[in-house]
Symmetry: C2
Subunit: 457 residues, 2 copies
């Protein structure tokens, strides 16, 4: 399965991770500063390479083989993107260290102490889209959290990513961290080889489509923390307030339609078919949103007078598949259902468990929704667009996990650590298990919490 | 991939999980009590079925197709096993509820509050050995943590497990929890079908050999929390104390050799070859341990005078494969290495990352070992046999995770939960994302921690 080249990369990453474990957190912060300086020094070269990537991409767009939005994301010189990228490194450097945190301490016996301490996961393989600044964002998060990383960005940004990677290696070489602490790869075949190397790689983080995430899950034993589709929904409850309904639905759909936290499906309580739904529908049409409606919401919105000017072009019947689509544009699927529980069942079946919202004035409906909806984010009267690491206050994020293991929702530094147990005997003869148990002369465990937060070493 | 029968089981589990989310934690505790009563009422029938399993197993042992130790584990009437099993249910019931815990709360804006709250994972598929009491232990942990579960035990215990499952269903039917909250299956082909159903099953927990765990990882997209081999080791540091070395090594190897936390490899600092190593070797031989030695430890132990009586039968040369074997009996692989860092590199390469121990009087060596060894447990002067949920004080455990994601080491109730974010607007018009950002009239996020521990509902 694995070629020697990929095995070398993976081995080097594991070895870099293991070597780095004896270094202090300060050394990792220093590495971030060195990388920032190297990037600043290489700015002209990097932006020149980015221009080449952009030119090649423009040809692709002209030939109809690439989307305009992908092209826009490639541009590292747009607005304040370059400065934000460098500032992001300082921001990550100044976040609290997620490693070395004591989360449990217990005295098992006189002079026998158990500690649970947060620590890095190990080697991360991170696969992401063609956004060159993400190389730097993710490298910073990996270094800050003490993980070695292998990064693979979209091929359209390869020239830029290559120079960014050189600046990162060059920054690392001025510190005690091995230069192979962060490595970049450029081809899918390298990814395929690395996926077989579960003895060296501890976690794969793919950011992209459902099919990318599923394809990776199908081809590796390594745990996968997937950032896949966001099929988010808003439910208008029986007791929904009209203004809140309009504001939350329109913002959830239109604020940035191509984002994963945009809403794709609107569920309307049947009692609102002739009241709130037509008003919400009118506002959505006014915002240029195309509506795919089930029979009852279609009938209800058809009675709007005067008929909105774009009604004929923007309103059409839905079918069963409409509710399984991440539109990523100004399209919204709409369905009416008879109850909160029917809505919850519908959402649990159709949503990608990213973020779902209820608009309601009822405390009990809000509570039931937040408990009953099995999603990373359950929102009350707030736009699904708030589901984001920056908006949550976590700083930059490595992705938004749609899985249910380890980390869920926006994943920042905390999602990149695990813990280990340290058991320390200070007894004169060490501690052995055979002395504990039931029966004459056997010792009993104390299991007495240790106060304070000091680490064993 | 999946037959209709398995799909029904998985769908029923998911539906049971979703329905249960609106029930209180008290209802789950009541279910545990009802199950306990049902088991007590069915005791005679269950033990009769267990006798049948035992008889069939005895035939297998006679025919050489089953080990004596597997037979022993089948017996539900041995010692206080039955009573402990019932007591275990009460113990789990009385543990603190792992769900509904607030772990983060932040005010994003006036009247916009973000909460992170622990919640169940969803549907667990748990595969374990032929120990019938484990059906009950794991069902209790799943119910207490709010997860639905599908259980598959070793086929040798099928008759017993079937009746235990009936008692569990019968107990559940007296509560508001669906009777399909806990289901049992009996065949490998059902497991194979269920592994394809990642839309319904959220986590697979296989307890067993490395090959079982790898086989499951190779055949599913569902996350796997593996309880695989324990290839634990003890390292005798340059500064090791003689008595601690003897006590810790002998206990780690001999206290219960077939357990996953028993030690399989001893690493000796070269400076101890003519001092501590021969004494430790002598104690191991006296305890009946077979030693597989590398050339230098073999030479050193050969000079013992008088030669231990079992020297000829119990000491032999190791080869490279000796250090990759989980012996699970009174056999220990031994190697001498020139330094702490060489020992750490050796352990990181050979250990299964379960538990590794250093015997040392040096504070700096202990600290380096605990930081540098990438294992769930890093122990100082204490037997690897302490690596266990009960001994750690966590109560009963669902397994010992040798993975590095989600939960590591002994996994109790805390390892069976994840979290969700609840975002609640109390604003008069709800909250929309478009009002935040840079530029005139835009709002800024407050990100102000919310004091206290009260939940939003």
């Amino acid at each position: 399965m694995s070629d020697p080249h990929s095995t070398d990369i993976a081995k080097a990453a594991k070895s870099a991770f293991e070597q780095s474990q004896l270094l202090s957190a300060e050394e990792r912060i220093r590495a971030l500063q060195e990388i920032q300086s190297e990037l600043a020094a290489l700015k002209d070269d990097i932006l020149a390479a980015n221009q080449e990537d952009l030119k090649a991409a423009e040809e692709e767009v002209k030939a109809g083989r690439m989307s305009e939005s992908l092209l826009k994301r490639l541009d590292l010189n747009k607005g304040d993107k370059w400065d934000s990228m460098l500032q992001g490194i300082s921001d990550v450097a100044s976040l609290p260290d997620p490693t070395g945190k004591l989360t449990y301490a217990s005295e098992l016996d006189d002079n026998l102490e158990l500690y649970r301490i947060s620590c890095p996961i190990g080697v991360l393989l991170i696969i992401f889209e063609a956004r060159p600044e993400v190389v730097v964002n993710i490298a910073a998060l990996a270094i800050k959290s003490g993980n070695a990383a292998i990064l693979k960005g979209g091929k359209e940004s390869n020239r830029t990513a290559d120079l960014l990677a050189r600046a990162i290696s060059s920054g690392l070489s001025k510190t005690a961290l091995p230069p192979t602490y962060i490595q970049t790869i450029q081809t899918r075949s390298e990814v395929a080889s690395l996926l077989a190397l579960d003895q060296y790689i501890d976690l794969v983080i793919p950011r992209g489509s459902n099919s990318l995430v599923r394809n990776i899950q199908n081809n590796t034993r390594i745990p996968v923390m997937g950032h896949a589709d966001g099929l988010c929904s808003v439910y208008l409850d029986e007791s929904a307030d009209l203004q809140k309904a309009i504001r939350v639905v329109v913002d959830s759909k239109t604020d940035y339609p191509s984002a994963c936290n945009s809403t794709e499906t609107l569920i309307v309580h049947e009692s609102l078919l002739s009241t709130i739904w037509p008003a919400v529908g009118k506002a959505l049409l006014a915002a240029g949103v195309k509506l795919l409606c089930d029979p009852s919401t279609l009938l209800a919105i058809s009675s709007l007078t005067p008929q909105p000017s774009n009604f004929q072009t923007h309103v059409s019947p839905s079918d069963a598949s409409s509710y399984a689509i991440e539109h990523l544009d100004l399209t919204l699927s709409v369905v009416a259902l008879p109850s909160l529980s029917a809505a919850m069942e519908f959402i649990n079946q159709h949503s990608s468990h990213h973020t779902d919202c209820i608009v309601t004035e009822s405390e009990s409906a809000a509570s039931a929704f937040c408990r009953g909806i099995d999603s990373a984010g359950t929102f009350v009267n707030a736009s699904t667009r708030f589901a984001d690491g920056f908006r949550y206050g976590f700083g930059t994020e490595v992705g938004i996990s749609t899985g249910k293991i380890h980390a869920r929702g926006p994943v920042g530094l905390e999602g990149l650590v695990i813990y280990k147990y340290v058991l320390r005997s200070k007894g004169a003869d060490g501690h052995i298990a055979g002395e504990f148990g039931t029966g004459a002369g056997k010792k009993q465990f104390k299991h007495k919490p240790i106060e304070g937060t000091s680490l064993p070493f």
